[in-house]
Symmetry: C2
Subunit: 151 residues, 2 copies
DNA sequence: CCTTGAACCTCTAGCGACTAGAGATCCTAA
DNA sequence: TTAGGATCTCTAGTCGCTAGAGGTTCAAGG
């Protein structure tokens, strides 16, 4: 049996976050001591590790809850787990592509006029003017369209 | 003079978000019609475009406010703008590196046992067991250490 | 057995960056 | 003049935590 602090130490999940997960239904309510303190089983430790790992992989809590509900599932139900992984992987790929174009543009801005500021430099303009962008980072996130941006 | 809806249409920033930016001091309070509706100048449109672009680059609002305060600055003050760009670029680079290792792991999970679920498949285990990870994605984000994770 | 102090408890509120809704008012074109 | 889309203010909700207040419990040392 582990105290909540022991769980935190072993998984790297902070104590308030563990209680938060319990409140959100991701962790089952643990046993309590006579003095009302939480005592966790090894299974609970494993599940917290699962949550931690999935969170690190970028999964939102509802998706993690969905995965947990698949515990012990067989057959077609497991397709859901694969789906979640695939969807997350594709989302990550899109984020990578988008960040790479942002990185190019930030590099451009960071090196604009190379630190010589005897006259007005382009760094602020570089932030505001998308026309000068080397890349198409707006197009990368479909929910945001700059089509009508005409300053 | 532009209405708030026109500003939204031209920049892609949603109407409530424009009001939110005003409330946060990123946009100056615009003129109003007799009926209390906002009317924006071209300068305000430009600034909103600036904010939009900087947000897309991942800058937090306080950093954007700092950049705005540099408007018209000369000399050393502009170093601050370069600093912000460099810091953001480096942050983006770290995020890319981290996401790439996550992508590898999600791919591994997504393709675990290849859709044949006649028996218990490894996808859930793959989510929970970091031992099997191909990459070191925990180490990528220094604030989270898995050193003591022993399930 | 008693004390001390670290760890635990519940509860509320706050973060960032919006987003959604209610209910009221305004503007514009037919 | 009227209809209906756009706008107004205000509050509350989202996500995934995090921090703090104020109180209780546990475990080790004396």
């Amino acid at each position: 049996m582990f105290s909540i602090g022991e769980m935190a130490r072993r998984t790297g999940v902070k104590v308030p976050t563990i209680r938060f997960y319990e409140q959100k239904g991701l962790l089952p309510e643990p046993e309590r001591t006579a003095g009302n303190q939480r005592r966790y089983s090894k299974a609970a430790l494993g599940r917290l590790g699962f949550i931690r790992h999935a969170r690190d992989l970028g999964l939102p809590l509802p998706d993690i809850a969905a995965l947990i509900s698949l515990e012990g599932a067989k057959g077609d139900a497991l397709d859901r787990a694969h789906d979640i992984a695939r969807i997350q992987r594709d989302a990550v790929r899109r984020r990578i592509a988008r960040l790479q174009s942002l990185e190019r543009e930030l590099s451009r801005i960071a090196t604009a006029c190379d630190g010589r500021h005897d006259h007005v430099c382009a760094v602020l303009d570089a932030f505001s003017e998308h026309d000068r962008c080397l890349s198409d980072h707006y197009a990368a996130e479909p929910s945001r369209d700059w089509i009508n941006y005409t300053p």
